[in-house]
C-alpha cells in the first residue's frame, strides 16, 4: 500500500511538452526551398529598369522552360550594353554577338520548346537591343519563341 501511494505522488511531476521536432524539420525545409528559389531567380533577374507600358497586355510568367536574356546598359556609356544569359556575359560587338548567337543556338537545340525571355533596360536605344533580337532570330531551327519582359504597373 505504501509503495503504490509513493508512485502516485511521483507521477505528479510529469510535464506535458509538445514535440517540436517535426515543426523544426518543416521550417528548415521551407528555409532551404526559399534560399534556393531566391538564388535561382536572382541569377535570372539582373537589376534593370524595365519598360512599364500603359495598359499592358502582358501575362504573368508560368513555369515553361526558358532562357532569360538580359541586356544591361554599361555604367560608363549607357548607349552600350552587355548581354547576360545562362550565367555568361557577352559583349554587343561582332565577336560577342557571334558567341551569343552560338549560345542561343545551343540552348535552343538542347530544349527546342524553351522560351527566350528578353529583358532590356527601358532607357537603352533600340539600336542597341536590335542586334540581340536579330541574333535570337538567326539562331536556327524553328522560329524562336520570344517573350518581352516588362514591369507591371505599380510594381517595385
Amino acid at each position: 500500500m505504501e509503495r503504490r501511494a509513493a508512485r502516485t505522488t511521483n507521477r505528479g511531476f510529469a510535464t506535458i511538452s509538445a514535440n517540436l521536432t517535426p515543426l523544426i524539420d518543416l521550417s528548415f525545409l521551407l528555409v532551404i526551398f526559399f534560399v534556393l528559389v531566391i538564388r535561382i531567380s536572382s541569377a535570372e533577374r539582373v537589376p534593370l529598369e524595365l519598360p512599364t507600358p500603359e495598359e499592358p497586355v502582358s501575362e504573368l510568367p508560368d513555369n515553361d522552360r526558358r532562357v532569360v536574356v538580359s541586356v544591361v546598359p554599361d555604367a560608363s556609356d549607357p548607349t552600350r550594353a552587355t548581354i547576360q544569359a545562362g550565367g555568361r556575359l557577352f559583349t554587343t560587338d561582332d565577336g560577342g554577338l557571334d558567341e551569343f548567337l552560338a549560345f542561343v543556338a545551343a540552348a535552343r537545340a538542347a530544349a527546342p520548346d524553351s522560351f527566350l525571355n528578353v529583358r532590356a533596360d527601358a532607357s537603352l536605344p533600340y539600336a542597341t537591343v536590335r542586334p540581340v533580337l536579330e541574333a535570337i532570330a538567326d539562331s536556327g531551327g524553328t522560329p524562336p519563341k520570344v517573350q518581352l519582359v516588362v514591369r507591371r504597373e505599380g510594381g517595385s
Partner: protein
Amino acid sequence: MSRRRPIAAASGAGTLNLVPMIDVVFQLLVYFILGLSLEMDEELIRTDLPRRQAAAGIAIDDEPAFVDIAPASAGKLPMTVRGPISFSASTPAELRSRVREAISGPRPTLAPSQRFVLKPLPGATWDDAIEAFNALAGAGATRIAFWREATP
C-alpha cells in the same frame, strides 16, 4: 535541514531550449517569403520575330503596315503608320484606339491577322518600342514583328 529538489525538475535541466532557434528560423522564413514576393512584379509580352530572308515580293493582301516610331519627347511618342492604313498618332493610347477601330470597329478596314512591322527610328529607345508593341497588341493585332533589313 535541506529540502530535496524534485527528481523530475532535476532531469529537465539537461534539455535544449529550442525556442530561440525556432524564432530565428521563422524570422528567416518571413524574410525569404517577403523577398520572393517583391521580385514577382515582372510580366511577359508574347511576340514573334521575323527571320532573316531574302527580299521577296509582297502579296497585295499581305502588305504589312509599317509603324515608324520616333523618339519620345515631352510625354509624346510620335508614330506614323504606313501601308493598308495610314495615319499619325502621338501617344500609344491614340495608336491603340485607331488600330482597334480599323480592326474591330463598325466598318473594319483591317483583318486581325494584319501584319504590323515596328520600325523604331534612330534615337528611339527600347521603352518606346515596347509601348508601340503593347498598344498594337492591346488593339487586337496578332501579328506584330520588329523590322529588319532583308539581306540578299
